[in-house]
């Protein structure tokens, strides 16, 4: 191994993988020079080891309350053979961490963790090569324990090997370093306790909402009473009695206040009198689905096309079945409303927020203020769970706008009404499905998903402050990859699935946990159940009949869910139910994005026929995400995804009038409470020698359909409109009677 004179020389030395440590200087110096590598193709972008042997990880994927601040260091500590408590994590800082993409789609382990693991394995190979030289030993004689390499009685630590320098090693994520044999893992696969929990239960953890910088002021936004309203006048005298007001900031239709204290800012925002124009841009909520169906279609995206469905459906003697499903508009509903701090200093903006995509936010803020991206640094600080793109980025833009106006750092904390009223929404989804059945064989399946368009090449949800202030914002529509799981895992001879991409959707859309996959799987897995019932077949057997026989992992998951739930094999609905409260069981299956994590669920429900109340009593889940990194973390995430989705399925629906959102608190947008929590039972299939896939949101995909199918089993009535409110249940029963 060569020790190069400088990092620059190393880079000049050609594109080949250079196994070396550069003498460019200690990591601290490198950072001071603004030279921290960020490219995905360099080890130094992802990790550093200091002279004391402390490993610092630089992760573009961030912990949104999901536990990856434990799981990612767990993967790297295992790969490097260092103790977990010697690994430090830096997350989501645009000056320090590589852009590994937004933290979404349950990809933090699958993509982010695998890139970190590759960096660690590459670094370790170089460390061992160097250690072999220094110890005068062969590589296969070396042992590594707690970051110390030994050969016989000779030892050298990682800290000594690195000598305070940075690595200068290339990475190719398409050809990752071999790394450890999974059978040698000591931490991966173990229920390592989360590193953040002790501080979180004792009030020592610094959330975004707790963060402050010297000289910081407190800001609040005053949003228009109607979407699209114009700010006509502001009466600053209306807050002359509020102590400590620094400034009323008005920029176009953006209105905010800045005060010395947080309470001062709250009172000023409440009392400030402003007059706004009337605006009614929203559809009549009672006719939402007509509106969605009548929306202009900009593109029909065919997501699968096998055989010829039109021909199969035109065959004489086939029986046609069809159904329409809808799924309400949902809000993220973070318990802590969005919060951010911003500071302009020497013409540069620093933004602290809980953004799940700081690299994207950086570009958006640069656009908004007409600066180069180099002038903006976005730093992630964990906040309240967001479950997708909630208001965090918007609060960051609010804080930046206010900070610029007062030329001091400003913290913006949204109110509950700001969060419920103004976070981007999960768009309404409407699905039509039909199938042709010839004898006892399903011969054709056709579906159309009415979903908003996705602005090509952009996942930037426009920032509210930029839009209101008339600053450069872009008018992107970014609902996320909501087309996924519109195609189906079942092998019918003729299949055509189409996403009808709509030009508009009532609210600024974004992704909320399991975007699209949830709505699409709900429709698909309800309709397959309808076909099973029409065929008088057991719903599990019916699915197995049409699953790809070569997809063994999928078949195993479905069988294991049935075994876990002691599945009562028979067609639905259940016969001879007596009494007011009746029970049912329903199954649902999903291969996430038809490419990764397999999940199958069985829901058991009670339905009170007199009131239409549904109670999920037990929820069983069989889950195959390949290699499990942290089984306890996985269970925690499954709990969360199942419980949150039961809430969305049974209760949640955004309320609005023609002007604005009206469900602005937890009374008007209720969520599931403790007494309504089911028993949760899991079968986690661990495959240590397979690559790890995403876990968390795949589990949410199967919840709405499992519940709908269980309700059908109980009362013989199909629920095709989420949420399954009691009034819809009783109406459906009346309709069926």
């Amino acid at each position: 191994m060569t020790i190069h004179a400088s990092r620059r020389d190393v880079l000049k030395g050609g594109g080949a993988l250079v196994v070396s440590f550069s003498l460019a200087g200690a990591v601290g110096e490198t950072l001071a020079q603004g030279a921290k590598p960020l490219a995905l193709t360099e080890v130094d972008s992802f990790l550093a080891i200091d002279a004391g042997g402390v490993v610092t990880l630089y992760s573009g994927k961030v912990d949104l309350g999901t536990g990856v601040a434990t799981a990612l260091p767990q993967m790297v500590a295992d790969e490097l053979d260092v103790p977990l408590n010697r690994v430090k994590l830096v997350q989501g800082d645009t000056a320090l961490t590589p852009d590994q993409g937004s933290t979404w789609g349950s990809l933090s382990i699958q993509i982010g963790g695998m890139q970190l693991r590759n960096a660690a394995a590459t670094a370790k190979a170089a460390l061992l090569e160097e250690a072999a030289k220094r110890l005068g030993a062969k590589q296969d004689e070396l042992k590594v324990v707690d970051g110390v390499v030994s050969a016989g009685n000779k030892r050298v630590s990682y800290g000594e090997l690195v000598g305070g320098k940075s690595f200068a090693l290339k990475l190719d994520h398409t050809k990752p370093a071999a790394g450890k044999d999974p059978k040698d893992y000591k931490l991966v696969g173990k229920p390592v306790p989360r590193v953040d929990i002790p501080d979180k239960v004792t009030g020592r953890f610094t959330y975004m909402q707790d963060f402050s910088v010297p000289g910081m002021l407190h800001g609040r936004v005053v949003r228009p009473p109607a979407i699209g309203a114009t700010l006509e006048s502001v009466d600053e005298a209306s807050i002359k009695d509020v102590a400590g007001v620094v400034k009323v900031v008005r920029e176009g239709n953006f209105l905010g206040v800045v005060a010395e204290s947080e309470w001062g800012a709250i009172k000023a925002a409440e009392k400030l009198k402003a007059s706004w124009s009337k605006s009614q841009t929203l559809p009549d909520a009672a006719k939402l689905w007509d509106e969605v169906r009548a929306s202009k279609v900009v593109k029909d995206e065919v997501t699968s096309n096998v055989g010829n469905t039109a021909e199969a459906m035109g065959q004489a003697g086939v029986k046609m079945l069809k159904a329409t499903y809808d799924f309400a508009i949902h809000t993220h509903g973070s318990i802590g409303p969005s919060c951010a701090v911003a500071e302009f200093k020497d013409g540069k903006l620093t933004s602290w927020s809980s953004s799940q995509a700081t690299h994207n936010l950086r570009k958006q803020l640069a656009t908004m203020f007409g600066m180069g991206a180099d002038g903006v640094r976005c730093i992630y600080i964990e906040g309240s769970g967001c479950y997708g793109r909630n208001g965090h980025e918007d609060a960051a833009a609010d804080a930046a706008l206010l900070a610029k106006a007062v030329e001091r750092p400003v913290r913006v904390q949204w109110s509950r009404a700001d969060e419920h009223g103004w976070d981007p929404k999960g768009p309404p989804t409407l699905v039509d499905i039909r199938a042709a059945v010839d004898g006892d064989v399903v011969t054709a399946w056709e579906s159309e998903f009415f979903i908003p368009q996705q602005t090509a090449g952009s996942f930037n949800v426009p920032l509210i402050a930029a839009t209101l202030a008339g600053m450069p914002a872009g008018d992107d529509i970014a609902p996320g990859n909501i087309f996924q799981n519109s195609a189906i895992p079942y092998k019918f001879a003729n299949v055509k699935t189409v996403c009808r991409r709509l030009a508009t959707t009532p609210f600024r859309p974004s992704w909320i946990r399991t975007p699209g996959r949830m709505q699409n799987t709900y429709a698909n897995e309800c309709f397959i159940d309808e076909l099973a019932a029409a065929a008088n077949a057991d719903p599990v057997e019916f699915r197995l009949k049409y699953l790809d026989p070569n997809d063994k992992r999928g078949i195993e998951v479905l069988n294991r869910a049935a075994a876990l739930a002691k599945w009562d094999k028979r067609p639905s609905p259940k016969r001879d139910q007596r009494g007011d409260v009746v029970t049912g069981r329903g199954v649902a299956y999903c291969k996430y994005e038809l490419a990764r994590t397999y999940i199958a669920a069985v829901a058991e429900v009670e339905v009170k026929r007199s009131t239409g109340d549904i109670r999920v009593t037990k929820f069983y889940l069989a889950h195959d995400c390949g290699q499990i990194v942290n089984p306890d973390g996985l269970r925690n995430q499954l709990d969360g995804n199942v419980i949150q989705t039961i809430s969305r399925t049974l209760i949640e629906e955004l309320k609005y009038d023609r002007s604005a959102v009206t469900s602005l608190d937890w009374e008007s947008y209720p969520i599931l409470r403790f007494p309504q929590i089911p028993e949760l039972v899991y079968d986690l299939i661990d495959r240590p020698s397979e690559r790890p896939w995403g876990a968390g949101e795949p589990a949410a995909a199967v919840v709405p359909s499992a519940i709908s199918n269980a309700v059908f089993d109980a009362i013989g009535v199909r629920l095709r409109s989420v949420p399954f409110r009691p009034d819809k249940v009783t109406a459906a029963m009346k309709g069926a009677a």
């Binding site: 949104l64 989360r194 929990i197 501080d199 959330y207 909402q209 947080e262």
Partner: protein, 155 residues
């Protein structure tokens, strides 16, 4: 007008300067005393994230005006309930059950259940769920929270 207000917080007498006696206790704790255990969630007493104890009772600090508190009333926050070195049994149980996802609501869960367990020694699971019915969690940590509270109760 700036004025002084005396409080008893986590066993200590403290004096703070405030502009408005109607300011909720939450802001005095967070902004004047840098106690970040209690959290802002709704400001409406709907979610429970801001819960503290006042004379042993679980109280929503986001709607408790400072003017309603005397210097003698004992306010206890999550930080005062137990420390990393001397954990309260409920805090210890939350760690043992790993009953946290984002953890933003967890202050309320712990403070509410600590007050509940002080008067209900051997609760059933149903009683625990009822006691926490007005504490909201969005991550879906409920099942672990119930296990943690049952563990703390020694059940």
């Amino acid at each position: 007008m700036a004025q002084r207000k005396s409080l008893n917080v986590n066993g200590k007498a403290v004096r703070i300067t405030i502009d408005d006696p109607a300011m909720p206790l939450l802001y005095a704790l967070r902004d004047n005393l840098a106690l970040h255990g209690p959290r802002f969630g709704c400001g409406l007493a709907q979610c429970g994230a801001c819960t503290v104890h006042v004379d042993g009772k679980a109280v929503r600090s986001c709607v408790t005006p400072l003017s309603s508190l005397t210097a003698q009333q004992k306010v206890v926050t999550l930080e005062g309930l137990g420390t990393p070195q001397r954990l309260h049994p409920v805090q210890r149980a939350f760690i043992e059950e790993q009953a946290v996802q984002c953890g933003y609501c967890i202050n309320g869960m712990i403070m509410e259940s600590a007050a509940f367990l002080a008067k209900t020694k051997k609760p059933t699971e149903a009683q625990v769920k009822d006691a926490l019915a007005n504490n909201l969690c969005r991550c879906g940590t409920h099942a672990r929270v119930v296990k943690a509270v049952m563990r703390a109760a020694g059940a």
